[in-house]
């Protein structure tokens, strides 16, 4: 890649700044939604929202969810079967357990509260996936701009390490790798909310 092309560099910086602007909005909106909903939700529902937020903010869970499809499946399976991965650390297990318990409590509540919580959790999931997609775009654009090698296959592999979600990996395999996404990637699911609440 022509790393010295000032126009390419300008677009890279511009896109990075615009992505950062969206992320700033996203964080602000998530905080606002949680604060606003705290005024109207009962304590149990609010606990669920906060625990769910903690789940995304957990380094342990994020690492598991972003780096390894097997572990993502393991996390989702754990929420469904009330069992946890043997190799999960205790903090991650506690957070999952809190969310799962909160979901069970909210499911028993009336339609209005359930609808409200469903939207709030969905909004948080939307924000998190958006963050990952924007980060993937910016990081891979950076790899392209900095191109430390002329080996195209290596460049693509470097870019791929920044793709963590199903949709972005699917897009990357289709448009850059020009091959079908590996079967193990097909098993990545993003519908955590749907599995939790339905």
């Amino acid at each position: 890649m022509n790393a010295r092309n000032p126009r390419d560099q300008l677009f890279y910086q511009l896109i990075s700044d615009l992505a950062q602007d969206v992320m700033k909005d996203t964080q602000s909106a998530t905080d606002q939604t949680i604060n606003l909903s705290a005024q109207f939700l009962d304590a149990e529902s609010q606990n669920l929202v906060e625990n769910f937020q903690g789940l995304y903010e957990s380094d342990e869970i994020s690492r598991l969810a972003q780096n390894n499809a097997e572990n993502v499946d393991c996390i989702f399976e754990a929420t469904k079967t009330n069992s946890f991965c043997p190799d999960s650390d205790s903090m991650a297990s506690e957070q999952l357990s809190a969310v799962q318990q909160g979901v069970e409590e909210v499911i028993r509540k009336d339609t209005a509260i359930r609808a409200e919580v469903n939207v709030i959790l969905g909004s948080m999931q939307f924000a998190e996936l958006l963050r990952q997609h924007l980060a993937g775009v910016c990081a891979s654009f950076g790899v392209l701009m900095d191109a430390k090698t002329t080996n195209e296959a290596k460049l693509k592999e470097d870019m791929l390490t920044h793709m963590h979600t199903y949709d972005e990996r699917k897009a990357f395999y289709a448009h850059v790798m020009h091959q079908d996404m590996p079967v193990e990637d097909e098993e990545i699911t993003q519908s955590l909310i749907d599995q939790l609440i339905g």
């Binding site: 092309n5 126009r7 392209l144 990357f172």
Partner: protein, 168 residues
């Protein structure tokens, strides 16, 4: 720039557009989810006066802007002392955020397209900044663009500006 690198850049661009487009689609699904939630809450209110249009609305029959307009109107008439009615307010905020995000993502997609168009063209900063401004949808984005084109883009909106751009 050699041909292979140009091809890789264009491939990357197609990936980036597909990746961001998937989030725009997700925003659309989120809008539908919010509407369903608002309708579920509205249908439980004792006083359903003025709620008929909202309750019967289908997301595939209205734009997000139309849904927001209708919801704003409903919020203005709801009993602020009613707990159920109060649940709708955060949902309105969520819908606004998702719609704003969708517009900003579409803006980034437009700017990425311009990159593909101009990367091998010899055009002036004045022309480039004007083309980029066509995709700007917010004051924050305008301020960012002004950083890179201080001679051609103002960091703040001009009160006398009458270019028809409806920023949020």
């Amino acid at each position: 720039m050699d041909q292979r690198n140009t091809e890789l850049a264009l491939d990357w661009l197609n990936y980036a557009q597909a990746s961001l487009d998937s989030r725009i689609q997700h925003a659309g699904q989120a809008t539908e989810k919010v509407l369903v939630a608002v309708q579920a809450i509205s249908s439980q209110l004792n006083d359903k006066q003025d709620l008929g249009a909202l309750i019967s609305l289908r997301s595939d029959q209205a734009s997000t802007a139309e849904i927001l307009h209708l919801l704003r109107d409903v919020l203005d008439h709801l009993d602020t002392q009613n707990d159920l009615a109060q649940l709708i307010s955060p949902l309105f905020s969520t819908l606004q955020f998702e719609d704003r995000t969708r517009q900003k993502l579409e803006s980034i997609l437009g700017i990425l397209s311009i990159w593909a168009e101009v990367r091998n063209e010899d055009i002036t900063d004045k022309v480039l900044s004007a083309r980029l401004m066509q995709h700007v949808v917010s004051l924050e984005q305008q301020a960012i663009l002004a950083k890179y084109f201080p001679d051609y883009v103002q960091a703040e909106a001009d009160d006398d500006d009458d270019d028809g751009i409806d920023f949020f």
